[in-house]
């Protein structure tokens, strides 16, 4: 924790004490709490001065490290596998096996591509149903051979096209959600760039979900939200505020389990250091998850998925 984080923690403790005192004494000190909250918010802002819309831009940056950088920086001896065994190989998702530290893993990632040729080949990282079915095939293989699964998420969304609909985009995503909820091997997901809606979630049902500090994860793009709800696609930056799509917001909402630090300015400033940070988190988490019995692991995963949501009754 840095100084600012320590001060935020102190304020939280103070607020708690005041609240307890209010309850026991019946004296109203809500004004005090409010001014402490204001101070806290300022500190949080100084800690993370980027607006959600700025973070959206960083998450989408072309020079941001992608699946290739992470395979290079994290996985030893990666071997790529292809195809869903039904229709074709979808290059928007890359999958294979390799070592992370001492752990043999199955690695699956959205693949956007870094230049225009690769973008086209990989459909800008927007998978068709066969991409999700390839991912599921590799996950079931991992389950069979008791290898943990590591998924990296980086897509603006599942592809919206005729073929995708004809081949059951909805069914493919749904099947992954269902099977991942019950896969009898550890699953770790990391949002490395853009986590766009159902097309991202289809690799995101996991025992632990992490986000890189400047990644985003959202039910809809800020542009889409702005054009539907605000009736003006130009108000995307405003929509980005409302959607709570940053790593900090999503940690607070308990949608994710942790944030992985990026080098100052963003991951693109030092891909190797970013990969190193991610690798450390993965190894720590693999150490933790592989100690849990598969039965407990799946039960806990269910409870975790089940507990997300906010409502009144």
């Amino acid at each position: 924790m840095n100084d600012i984080e320590i001060r935020i923690k102190e304020i939280d403790e103070k607020i708690k004490k005041i609240k307890d005192f209010m309850e026991s004494s019946g004296i109203d000190l809500s004004g005090e709490i409010e001014s402490l909250n204001l101070k806290k918010n300022e500190l949080i802002k100084s800690l993370n001065p980027k607006s959600p819309w700025e973070i959206v831009q960083i998450a989408r940056q072309k020079s941001r490290p992608n699946y290739e950088d992470y395979i290079d920086g994290i996985i030893d001896g990666f071997i790529e596998f292809h195809g869903d065994r039904n229709f074709r190989d979808d290059a928007a998702i890359v999958g294979g096996i390799g070592f992370i530290g001492k752990f043999p893993v199955t690695f699956i990632s959205h693949a956007k591509g870094k230049n225009i040729e690769e973008n086209v080949k990989r459909n800008f990282g927007s998978p068709h149903p066969e991409g999700y079915r390839k991912a599921l095939r590799l996950m079931k293989q991992a389950e069979k051979f008791k290898r943990p699964v590591v998924c990296f998420i980086d897509t603006s969304g599942a592809y919206c096209g005729v073929g995708a609909e004809e081949r059951g985009q909805g069914e493919a995503i749904a099947r992954n959600l269902l099977e991942m909820s019950d896969l009898k091997t550890p699953i770790i997901s990391v949002v490395i760039g853009e986590g766009g809606s159902g097309g991202a979630l289809a690799l995101g049902v996991a025992d632990r979900v992490f986000m890189l500090e400047n990644a985003i994860y959202s039910v809809i793009s800020p542009e889409g939200c702005a054009s539907i709800l605000l009736k003006d696609a130009g108000r995307a930056s405003e929509a980005a505020n409302y959607l709570k799509l940053t790593s900090r917001d999503l940690l607070e909402l308990k949608v994710i389990d942790g944030i992985i630090k990026e080098p100052s300015g963003g991951a693109h400033n030092d891909a190797a250091l970013t990969a190193k940070n991610v690798k450390k988190v993965l190894i720590d988490t693999l150490n933790e998850l592989t100690k849990i019995s598969v039965y407990d692991l799946v039960e806990k995963r269910y409870e975790k998925i089940r507990s997300i949501g906010v409502f009144l009754e």
Binding site: A164, D182, Y242, L243, F311
Partner: protein, 297 residues
Amino acid sequence: MIMWKDLFVQRKYATLKVTQKSDLAKDENVNAENIDVDMFTKCPSCGEILINMDLESNLKVCLKCNHHFRIGGNERIDITFDKGSIDYFDTNMKSLNPLKFPNYSEKLKSLSKSLGINEAVITGRAKIEGLDVCFGVMEPNFIMGSMGSVVGEKLSRMFERAIDMKLPVVVFCASGGARMQEGMLSLSQMAKVSAAVKKHSNAGLLYISVITDPTTGGVTASFASLGDIIIAEPKATIGFAGRRVIEQTIKQKLPLEFQTSEFMLEHGFIDMIVERNKMKETLHNILKIHLGVKGNE
């Protein structure tokens, strides 16, 4: 996972208001003093002007062209489950506004007032011609039947109760997808309900998904597509992405039959298309075979 507002607007049908006394007023069931109710409805498909009472008694299916009008959750329950057999679950659960999304709280308040229901799904336990099921019925009029935390939680609890009671589940889907106003909490409900479906399935229990117009986005990409048996009403819109988004992406107009029940049947994603007036009977017959009860013999 987008709620395609245009999808809902384009099919809105015209209703003709009749305020003067008419022949119908002679019917003793109709109070002549109060005839400012809507009496006629124009079919959006064939243009026929239909008398509402006839339309109602035909389960809101056009008498001329068989167009299936959208119906609300309570209407669906009335025509599907045995009278007096229904136990409702979690009727008091309400949405909050966890993201503090502008206008969301107001929208929730005004809708629950005007529709008389709290949320976009009704869950419970009921009988279909004497056979027990747990059910979920989505309400297409409540923020376009979109799925937020409450829809996800109610459906998941319903599946879990069905496991405890060892009962089959029938869900009538009608939804624009995940609810934008609850952000990632909404998207996470897709995983939540799918996980509950899997648990129910692991217990060896039957889940029938009935797709009605419209079923799109995050609901198509979760429980709607996960039934052991998937049934659709005729000509319902079923799809993942919105038609307009696809047209914008591929820069082409799509044929009318794209993303309909018939299209999905042809491509192998649903088991059968069943007309509304045969739905109850069909569900009953499936349940009967499933339970191995031949009955009536």
